[in-house]
Amino acid sequence: MTPDVEQQIEDWSQTLRSAPTGQRFLVSGGGTKPSLLTGTGTGTGTGTGTAEKRIGSSLPSGSGSGRTVAEQSRALAESDGAAPQTLDTRGLSGIIEYRPAEFTITAYAGTPVSVVLEALAQHGQYLPFESPFHVATGPEERSDDAGRWRRADLAARTTIGGLVAAGINGPGRLRHGGLRDFILEVRYLDGEGAIRRGGRRVVKNAAGFDIPKLLVGSCGRLGVILDVTFKVFPRPLDYLTMRVMSENIDSTIEIIATLTTHPWDLDALEVQPDGSVLIRLAGHSDALVKHGQRIQSRLSKYYSSFLTGPQQHQAWTAYADWLWGEADHAVARVPVSLRGLFDLDESLDEMEIERAYGSGGNVAWLRWLPSSENPGTRLKRLHKCLCEVKCCGQVIQGLGLGSWLGAFPGQAFYQHLKNVFDPRGRLGNF
């Protein structure tokens, strides 16, 4: 525990406790992801580009819907007469406890993801769900390509608490589980300023309500995350990637279904924007090639190739860059099912939205360049389309950052929980 950080937490607690009615708070981390109310001026630029306009009223209501950060702040201020106060978690930084032999790590919410990953790497460990800004196959390099996010910078900037609040997983989700499956304990402030703790720092625990899981994806609306404990895993010794060329969405779905129903322990299975399928195997290098050849023979009707070394790393960094690399693009994340993929893909084609499908077809990453005349058009159509197919999603970068798309399942249950976590709505709503 770090005394000045603890003092900061104590101060926030007091601030929340003594705040007048109507005072709102915005939780902000590194501003790289959708805690989505990142406060003005602290973000990376996502959502504050030239096309800064409010999305139409067809989106679900709520302080986060379809507005830029600046607008959200203004709207909150107008409705309640008080400017929202930003709680910037970057001051809560540092690893509190790392026990490699126990395979658990505890860090303050504002600790950069890169710091956590580096500490883990020294003991051959990692967070298997993979931060989307981190490429598992090799060391991060700084790239200075103009107009691109530098992922190394992103990992240095993304905070561990923000990762939890955003609830975003990378390719490791398919085999190892998501962030929700690795979070063990969380300390947080509720909307009334009480310092609370949920879960415990052991790898297995069935006591009490699972509050750590609830806060995954909560986007700062239920509490201010202060510190987090994760279970970690041993990092695989080596990786091998196969690229399989698929001609159309039908073949892609067939490839995924063939692979996920066989006991091949795929480390990752991702459909790239160009339609090719990346298959990653992990483990002992002696086993990988033989393992890969068996998969190749199973998929013999498709053209495939093995990627190793720099080639392999390049394939995965290119994929990450597609997602996070273009600041002027809007990006949305939409959980999907393999069965619904065909119809969704067709609709996305009509809307001229680029897409990749992650975690064996369990999530769609959508990307588009908002038009300068009607910047919100695609977003509105996408929202309508997702409502029709009873899916939901969230804009995680660019115009409309934080917008909820489609249905909100379980809303009645959420509202009950919100009434207790944040009865006066100080932390905003979806």
């Binding site: 297995k204 986007c219 379980g410």
Partner: protein
Amino acid sequence: MTANESSTLGDATLELHRRLQSIYPPERLLTKRGQLAAYESDGLTVFQTRPLAVVVPTSAEDIVATVKLCQELGVPYVPRGSGTSLSGGCVPHAEGIVIALNRLNQILQVDPVQCTAVVEPGVINLEISKAAAPYGLYYAPDPSSQQVCTIGGNLAFNAGGAHCLKYGMTSNHVLGAKVVLPDGEMVELGSGGLEQVGPDLLGMFVGSEGLMGIAVEITVRLLPKPEAFHTVMAGYPSLRAAGDAVAQIVASGLLPGAIEIMDRLSMDAATRAVGVAYPADAQAVLIVELDGTTETVEIEKRALQQLIDASAATATLVAATAEQRAMIWKGRKSAFSAVGLISPDFLVQDTVVPRTRLGEVLEAIEALSRETGIRVANVFHAGDGNLHPLILFDGRVQGELERAEALSARIIRLCIEQGGSITGEHGVGMEKREFLPDLFGAADVDFMRRLRRELDPGEVSNRGKMFPDGEAPALRVVGLHPLESQGIASRM
């Protein structure tokens, strides 16, 4: 109901029965003493209470109507599957009813493309794997009672099993649920797939011990059956030595499917019960199972053998056939009920300790056992630090139960002091509710209770569980659960 029985019931009970008759036909509304007997206790046999009625819904609509009626009348209800809870999680309330979910037992869909199954809450855990087997898939969580326990109960208590180390608990395998909240409203939680947006409402619901409502339809993840297994049993001169070997295996970076330990008492019991032979001179055996692709298991098994050779192991047996593997697991999974052969009664614990402190905690438990003169058998999920000390006693002897409970409390507090938890996979239920504040502190327990009361102000849904200061528990009985004495169920 006979005239005699009905004359002994109060007006409120008669009114309850009358109202329930408007929802249930006579064959699905049980009110006679003889009918209710089977529902008086669960896997934790020290508690026993007769409910006012048992209803057997066959649809979600039945459940909604029942829950709304219970709210209207302020009558507590207990949802129940097969009643195998080891924490008293489905012990009835004396002024309430039991909602028996066993007839909601349809596997609605097995989808071999998406690798999911949609099931009703009364489906038996193992039945899901059987239904998925033709596609080479299975449902991973494997509590020892998987032949009888239901998926609804697994979800309510976030059940574990021997393979949690690699595969996680029930919560890691539930992808969606239709839930009837305590006020009767139906909500859908989870996306039905691996990913979701917004707060993890489903993650919050799983493990809420029936306090936040009843899951009426559940979507679970199915996994491809591992291609290869490698199962090893190694004998050790002491529990500590076996515990130290676990720490070495975990630290090596191997991620076995399961790492289990049995002590001498448990081995002797398992030998008597199912005839499995163990190394004669060993005070503990370690069971390690690797699974995965043929290539990976081939490499990892050599690494594992080196670790075992370097440890204090005195004997090693590698399962050469599927039958030998099954035998090792049969001995392990029968251990709880087998202990019934060497002691008339026992309490089973479910504490968790940090894995690096296993050896130390096991020695402390042995010392407590010597100090109190109470025998303690140990059989547990060593890989996750999830202990199951079995405290042996004879309930017919005056004061033995109380002494056993006192020892149990000392072990639980010891594990909390070591940075552990009071339960790894059985849940808090009625049994461990007094210890919840020791683990979380009074303020956080109070906060959880506020969450519960927000959803259910009258605490109608599974009243008396999880939170301390619940109403007085039930009568105590001694002896094995009827299912245990038949060898059908066991307590882990």
